[in-house]
């Protein structure tokens, strides 16, 4: 079998493996949210101030909340598979619409963060490893160590204090200046300007992680036998580092990047809330406090799908980097 065919089979296999995980997530979250005290009707009734038990029962019936749990779950599963994520009572619009509306900003934040964190992390790790025990290495290692220990929300706030309030370089919140009615490239520029601080904030922790991982991985690979072989062939140190060691050292970093995508979405809840970034994270937070069950399920499903698809892309990259995939 050719390498391409093997790669394709590997990626398909990974795709297949993701299906039960996504299903499990739907089921787990559904039951978890059932544990919560009170349902949407309680919330609606609470907000309305006075509601008769008869009216509440009627509402429950209308939303299917009087059905036994397995039925509710089955109905939900069936609907999800038909891309019907239900109706948000709170926002009075379909969940799918709401969620899709907030999906793009989160995707934007995620993608820019992954590129920044992985890209810069790899470069810094490489710089540290190639200048082992020099001031460069020390500086990068200290930076990574401190960043690794910094709470995201605090960095975000400090950025706002210093860079937005003091210097006025960046906007403090939101995704764009809606009042300005930018169009075309002006709008792109405006959104990019708003994107800088949230991205930098969210990527810092992961950047530190990848820097440390890359440095350690480079050092480990530099001690391998094949490096001695390469040296015995008369290759330059440059070639050995950037062709032989680098590619092998990237493997654990890429794996880790896949593992961290889920955590990244978690981090985006905080960052979105600090910078009022109108994404899924903020929506989830709002939904939580309004007990908007359907909306929460929708957000969870979508973020899980997001993680799965990003992981798939990372699997493809990995399969391209490591010819041994079909072995494992």
């Amino acid at each position: 079998m050719s390498h391409t065919a093997k790669r394709l089979r590997y990626v398909l296999k990974r795709l297949l493996q993701a299906v039960p995980i996504v299903l499990a997530i739907i089921v787990v979250n559904f039951f978890l949210l059932q544990l919560a005290e009170g349902d949407a009707v309680d919330v609606l009734a609470g907000e309305a101030g006075s509601a008769t038990p008869e009216y509440m029962a009627e509402l429950r019936k209308k939303f299917g909340l009087d059905q036994p749990l397995p039925v509710q779950l089955a109905v939900y599963l069936k609907n999800v598979l038909a891309f019907d994520l239900g109706y948000s009572f709170r926002h009075e619009m379909p969940v799918l619409e709401l969620v899709l509306d907030r999906f793009i900003p989160t995707l934007l934040l995620m993608v820019s963060t992954i590129f920044l964190a992985v890209g810069v992390g790899i470069i810094l790790g490489l710089l540290a490893a190639t200048g082992l025990n020099t001031w460069r290495d020390t500086l990068i290692s200290v930076f990574a160590l401190v960043t690794y220990a910094t709470p995201l929300f605090w960095v975000g706030l400090m950025f706002i204090v210093v860079l937005s309030l003091n210097f006025g370089w960046f906007p403090t919140s939101g995704m764009e200046n809606i009042a300005a009615f930018h169009e075309g490239w002006d709008r792109v520029w405006d959104i990019a300007h708003h994107l800088v601080l949230p991205t930098v904030t969210l990527s810092l922790f992961y950047l530190a992680l990848y820097t440390r991982l890359m440095r350690a991985s480079m050092l480990e690979q530099a001690g391998m036998d094949y490096v001695t072989t390469a040296r015995a062939k008369g290759l330059t140190e440059r070639r050995i580092m950037f062709v032989h060691v680098l590619r092998n050292a990237l493997l654990p970093v890429v794996t880790m990047a896949g593992v961290q995508v889920g955590a990244l979405i978690g981090g985006s809840v905080i960052v979105e809330s600090v910078f009022a970034w109108p994404g899924l994270g903020m929506l989830a937070f709002e939904a939580l406090f309004s007990r908007d069950l359907n909306l929460l399920l929708g957000i969870f499903l979508l973020s899980a799908l997001l993680v799965v698809s990003v992981n798939l892309i990372i699997d493809i990259i990995y399969s391209w980097l490591d010819p041994r995939i079909e072995v494992s």
Partner: protein, 539 residues
């Protein structure tokens, strides 16, 4: 001797501070002439590998480096030349092959690209020329289908093919010197014979001078023109192969050569006809893959034991001989019930052990004990030696004082000081640890001892001592022994009878002397023909 290719004078290589000795290599003098194979022989820690690496300037600097002496390649001292010149020398004038071809090749780069690099960095050739040269080289080392091999990654080749590819890469630019650092140690004996043949063939075709590092005197006898023996960093003896192998002068060389087991089988001993252990129709299939809910496809199956039938007589040593993957270790582990066989019988004193569950098996455990291969992995690093040995009897309800006394007694039986009792395994050498492992197995007074490659991780002099110990113990304690080994020399010295295994099947069983004198199965013939150094010490 004509002018020498390589001239090493008074070489000193230092070790990091706090090491056991100050120099890894001390005052070594060596010469290599064109068209000659010089073998450097020594046990582990003798400094033979570091000497080889120093020639290419590949020492793990800065802690291990040349501190004195010279290494001259055609008059040029490699310690004095610039980095750039050193890179020029490496790969084109001197090249090297290593012990473990799997780790010595870059796992994520095709064989073709790895060979290509040698040309790219030393010659100016077009891409097309380089590719066609690579294909020629692969054909030269007798690799089948070079077109396929250039596009393969190392993990897609077998061990022997990888080493052939390494050799092709090393000979790409027709170097004057080839350094081979234990190039066949990681290979099976039949593959080893092929690779040795290839190295000799290549050496003759290219008039290369070969510096061949090995610990195996059999290999030395097969390939060497001249031999240098190293001990603890010093070259204690040099001479032609004939001089060193057949009339060694230095006591260390004499001791080493005396320790090499002879291929002549031991004289047969009287043995009872009464069986100690019988294995009948044993089967074991390993399945990999599959997995939860059937995801991940069908999975692979390997038949590790296929209808294996063995008969161990009381008081005899039965050898199971085979190469890696032959299933010999699987059979051993099935017999001691570490692995559950799929079907068949394991009869010990009339009881079939195979169908017993763990609780039912427990009373029979004492009768059948095992000695393991790896002296470092076979002892719990966090348990004191005394406890390791006393553990078995304690588990069976022996009073503490009695078990402790027995453990001390066993320590002296296996030739260790009683003070070993309170120490941890890491304080002992490989040979001593193997003694501890034997004491542990003996603590339960077994009838049958299964020894799984008990000496293959040890240096040859230690190996001889452990084999002697096993023999003594077998006599003294009336043991019957199953001895798993890949080494026919060892088998010849220890086993009364041997069973030869391949692909999970026993291809031949018989008295050791008969099989060595007149092997029936073609595979046994190949195996015997591949044993290195048989013309040297066949008798």
């Amino acid at each position: 001797m004509s002018e020498s290719l390589l001239e090493i004078r008074n070489l000193h290589i230092c070790l990091p501070e706090g090491s056991e000795r100050p120099y890894a290599v001390e005052a070594a003098d060596l010469d290599l002439a064109p068209n000659e194979i010089l073998c450097i022989v020594g046990e582990s820690g003798s400094g033979k590998s570091l000497t080889a690496r120093a020639v290419m300037g590949l020492l793990p600097k800065p802690h291990v480096r040349v501190v004195d002496g010279s290494i001259r390649l055609a008059g040029e001292d490699v310690n004095q030349v610039s980095e750039a010149r050193l890179r020029e020398i490496r790969g084109s004038e001197v090249s090297m092959i290593f012990q473990e071809p799997m780790t010595a090749l870059n796992p994520v780069m095709t064989i073709g690209d790895q060979i290509d690099e040698v040309f790219r960095f030393h010659e100016s050739m077009t891409r097309k020329d380089r590719r066609s040269r690579a294909l020629d080289l692969l054909a030269d080392v007798h690799l089948p289908d070079p077109d396929q091999i250039v596009r393969s990654y190392p993990h897609e080749l077998s061990g022997g093919q990888r080493q052939r590819a390494m050799i092709a890469m090393a000979l790409a630019l027709d170097p004057k010197i080839l350094i081979a650092d234990e190039p066949t140690t990681a290979l099976d004996v039949t593959t080893q014979a092929q690779i040795l043949k290839l190295i000799k063939e290549m050496q003759a075709a290219h008039n290369t001078g070969v510096l061949f590092i090995t610990h195996d005197f059999g290999v030395v006898a097969d390939v060497a023109d001249r031999v240098a023996v190293m001990q603890q960093g010093s070259v204690v003896e040099t001479g032609t192969a004939d001089e060193v192998l057949n009339a060694p002068k230095h006591p260390y060389t004499q001791a080493l050569i005396a320790a090499v087991p002879s291929l002549a089988p031991r004289p047969p001993r009287d043995q009872s006809a009464e069986p100690a252990l019988q294995v009948k129709g044993l089967n074991k299939v390993f399945r990999s893959g599959g997995g939860f809910l059937g995801f991940g496809g069908g999975g692979r199956t390997v038949q590790a034991a296929k209808d294996v039938t063995l008969d161990l007589k009381r008081g005899e040593t039965l050898g199971i001989v085979g190469e890696s993957g032959s299933g010999k270790s699987t059979v051993a582990r099935c017999i001691v019930r570490l692995i559950d066989a799929d079907d068949g019988q394991i009869l010990l004193n009339g009881t079939d052990l195979r169908p017993l569950n763990r609780a039912e098996m427990r009373p029979h455990r004492a009768s059948i004990q095992m000695v393991f291969q790896d002296p470092f992995a076979s002892l719990n690093p966090r348990t004191r030696v005394g406890k390791i040995i006393a553990q078995g009897p304690l588990l069976r309800g022996t009073p503490l004082a009695e078990a402790q006394e027995r453990a001390r007694e066993l320590l002296s039986i296996v030739g260790l000081d009683e003070r070993a009792y309170d120490r941890f395994p890491h304080e002992f050498s490989g040979g001593q640890r193997q003694r501890i492992g034997i004491a542990r197995a003996l603590a339960l007074n077994p009838e049958v001892l299964v020894a799984d490659e008990p000496v293959s991780a040890l240096d040859v002099s230690i190996q001889a001592q452990i084999l002697l110990l096993l023999d003594e113990i077998r006599e003294k304690m009336h043991l019957s022994m199953i001895f798993i080994t890949h080494d026919l020399r060892v088998a010849a010295q220890v086993c009364d009878r041997i069973a030869v295994m391949r692909y999970g099947e026993i291809v031949e069983t018989g008295a050791t002397a008969e099989i060595f004198a007149d092997p029936q199965a073609p595979y046994t013939k190949d195996l015997l023909a591949a044993v290195p150094g048989q013309n040297w010490r066949a008798a």
